[in-house]
Every structure is written in C-alpha cells, then in structure tokens.
C-alpha cells in the first residue's frame, strides 16, 4: 500500500534509565531540546511503554533495575526496537564485572542498535535512531508476512495435536 511508507514517520520513544550515571540521559534529553529537535522526525518522548515503538535504554543493568527492564520491554506492543545507549548499555563499560551490575542490556532483552560512547553524543543517538527506523520497518513487514504450515497435525493419545503445526518463517 502507498500508505505504508508513512509507517516510520512517527516513532515514539520510551526512555529508560537502567542504573546509568545520567550522562547519557542528559544527551538523550538534549536530542529532544531545541538544538537537535528530534521532534522534526515525528519522535515524541512518551514515557509510556504501551504507546511507544523505540526503547532507548542507558546504563549497565543494575540488579535492582533488571526486573523493571524486562517488565517494561514486555509491555511494549510489537513492532518494537531497542537501542542501547552509551558504553555501559552496550557492554557494561567501566562497571563490567562488578558485583551489583550486569554486563550490558543485551543480557536481558534483545538489542537491535548499539550506540557507543561515554556519554554518547546526540548526533550518534540520532544516527542510531535512524538506523533503528529501518529495522522497525523490516519488523513491521515481518509481522504481516504469511505463516507457513510446516508439519501435519499428529494423533497423540487419541487426540489431534495441532501444537506443532504453525511456524513463522
């Protein structure tokens, strides 16, 4: 459809701080401020997982925040994209191997785009978000793809078992 090309024009952002030092958070907020004005691409910082498409996560995942991280991620409706912002978010950074932190966000939720840097620069975040938009479009297309039937239903204990029938390509 011709309307499909407008899909990526309004990515709404959810920003979550998983134990970051606030350096990357300030850079993300700088993106929204007049100087970089990320809203010109249609992005809003919603702060509501149920209405957002792109999740920007900063910080190494501290043990207190990992449950919330997974919780928030699972509340976002598909299609969704996760961007790890900053060195800590990508790999754990200087906190890697400490007793109270994990080594990066991808140990808990799947990450699509990594934005490195300690504080990642606003230009880098914008570039990362633009990259995420391509992934978002691909994911939306995949959701619309047809489902192929792989196996036939099997008779099991006198009942028809259809559990293994469908598998997404």
């Amino acid at each position: 459809m011709a309307l499909n090309k407008f899909r990526t024009k309004s990515p709404w952002i959810l920003h979550y701080n998983a134990g970051s030092c606030n350096g990357c958070d300030i850079e993300i907020l700088a993106c929204l401020a007049p100087k970089y004005d990320i809203e010109r691409f249609g992005m809003i910082n919603t702060g509501n997982p149920k209405q957002s498409d792109i999740m920007l996560v900063t910080g190494p995942v501290t043990k207190r925040s990992r449950e919330r991280l997974v919780d928030i991620y699972s509340q976002m409706p598909e299609p969704k994209v996760v961007i790890a912002c900053g060195s800590c978010g990508c790999s754990g950074g200087v906190f890697r191997g400490m007793y109270n932190c994990e080594g990066g966000i991808d140990q808990y939720i799947p990450v699509d785009v990594y934005v490195p840097g300690c504080g990642c620069r606003p230009e880098q975040i914008i570039a990362g978000v633009v990259e995420a938009l391509a992934i978002l479009e691909k994911k939306t297309k995949d959701m619309e793809g047809s489902v192929k039937l792989h196996n036939d239903p099997i008779e099991q204990d006198g009942q028809t078992n259809r559990r293994e029938v469908a598998a997404v390509i």
């Binding site: 024009k9 309004s10 007049p34 004005d37 809203e39 702060g47 498409d53 598909e78």
Partner: protein, 281 residues
Amino acid sequence: MNNSIIQILLIVLAPVLGGLIYGVERKVKARMQRRIGPPVLQPFYDFLKLMDKRKMMVHSTHAFLGILHFISLWFALAVLIMGGDFILIIFLHLLATALIILAGFSTRSIFSHLGANRSAISILAYEPVLVIIAISAYMLTGSFDVSALYASDVPVLFKMPLAFIALLMILPIKLKKSPFDISEAHQEVVGGVELEYSGIFYEAVYTAKWLDYIFCYLLVFMFAGNNWWLGLLLVALTFIYINALDNSTARVNYKQMLRFSFWVALPMAFLNLLMTMFHLI
C-alpha cells in the same frame, strides 16, 4: 451556519480538520520555541503508525469505553454544529468525559486512577462556567438553541464580553493545556486516563483529542454571531493565545486551578449573567 451541506461536511470531516489543527499547533509551538517542528501532517502519520501496532487491551470494557468516548464526543460536536440545545451539548460533552473517567478507573494502574481523579476535578472547574454562559445566552436570545447565537446579527461577543473572557479562562482546562493540564500532565501521571490504551484503541482516544479542538474552537466561533470573518479572527486569536499560554507557563496544582476557576472565571461569568439579565449592555 445555515447551510446544511456545510454542516454535514463539517461533521463528517471533523476528525480530519481537528488533526490538521493539532498538526498546525505542534508546528506553531515548535516555532515559538525556535525549533523546526514536525510536519503539519504528523498527527495522521501517528494515526497510520498506531494502526500497525499489535492490538493489546487491558480488558474489553476498557477498550469499549474508549471508543464510546470518541463516539459520544463526535455526537456532542454534531449537535453543536447543527445548532442544537446548549445544555444538551454540555451534557453530551460531560458524558464523553465521564466515559473516559470510567475507563480510567476500570484499570488497576495507579496513574490511570490519578488521571481519572484529575479529569473529574477538571470537570468541576470548567462545567459551572459553561452552564452559566449557556444561561446568559438564554437570557440574551430567549432560547437555549445555539443556532439562535449563530444567527444573531450583532456578534454575541459585544453583548456578553465577560462571558467570552470567562470562556478564554476555562479553555486551557478543557483543552488540557498548561497551566491547567493537570489531568494529562505527562511528567507526573504520564497522560492520565489514556495511559493504558495502546495501538488501535489508543487511536480512538487520540482522535477524540482532535475532536475536542474543534469543539472548543466552535464555542469561540459561536461568539461572532453570523459574521464569519469575525469568527475566524476570534478562533485564530484564541489559537495563538492558547499556544502562547501553553509555552510560557508552568503547571499549577489542582487546588490552585479550582481556586482560579471558582474565584475568577465563575464570578466573571456570573457578572455577565447579571448584566445580560438587567440589559446593562
């Protein structure tokens, strides 16, 4: 507003028109902050994107109440455009808001409850003023019908100027604009009652906001009588006033809002009622 074709077109195209107003508003707001701002058609891009999202709902009643909110608001707007009973219009608008408040209370999210509470307080702040404006209009024209106001030769603005000022005071509450945006305060309650909506169900609530713009600006337009150019001028000035106010003020708390509404806006509307009753203007 005599032409029935224009009326029907306006009713059918109300969401599209409201979306355009919202788009222009976002652009104007961005320019006021020296930003470039999103494209004018941005609300429609949001609309198309929300259609593609996975359909998640908290429970079916919640989603149903959101859709009913949209429908009843559209109905209130239709009655206003057709020039129906002013009291009925206020009642239908109240019904729409009551439905979304019910939806807010039907979930277990604490922010949704807070937003619903604050929406109810907002009703308490703006509803009495609107009712008194309606009674003033009755005193002026001898009928509760809005069509009598649309048809009046002398603009209603000159007959009841204080009512117009009172309306300007409560419009930020109705449109959920700063300094009276306590019911959807994004930094405090993350949108309030609309919090638990997502995907295609959020679309109903999102589009209802556009309808609210048309509703409020039509109330302003009503004050120009049958002079359309004056009406459009009033709407444009109100648009700039509301956006400038939204950009330049901070949020007050609900007590301050109620105090302002009861001690400033309501007495002003009441004074206007007395002046209209005794034909002082």
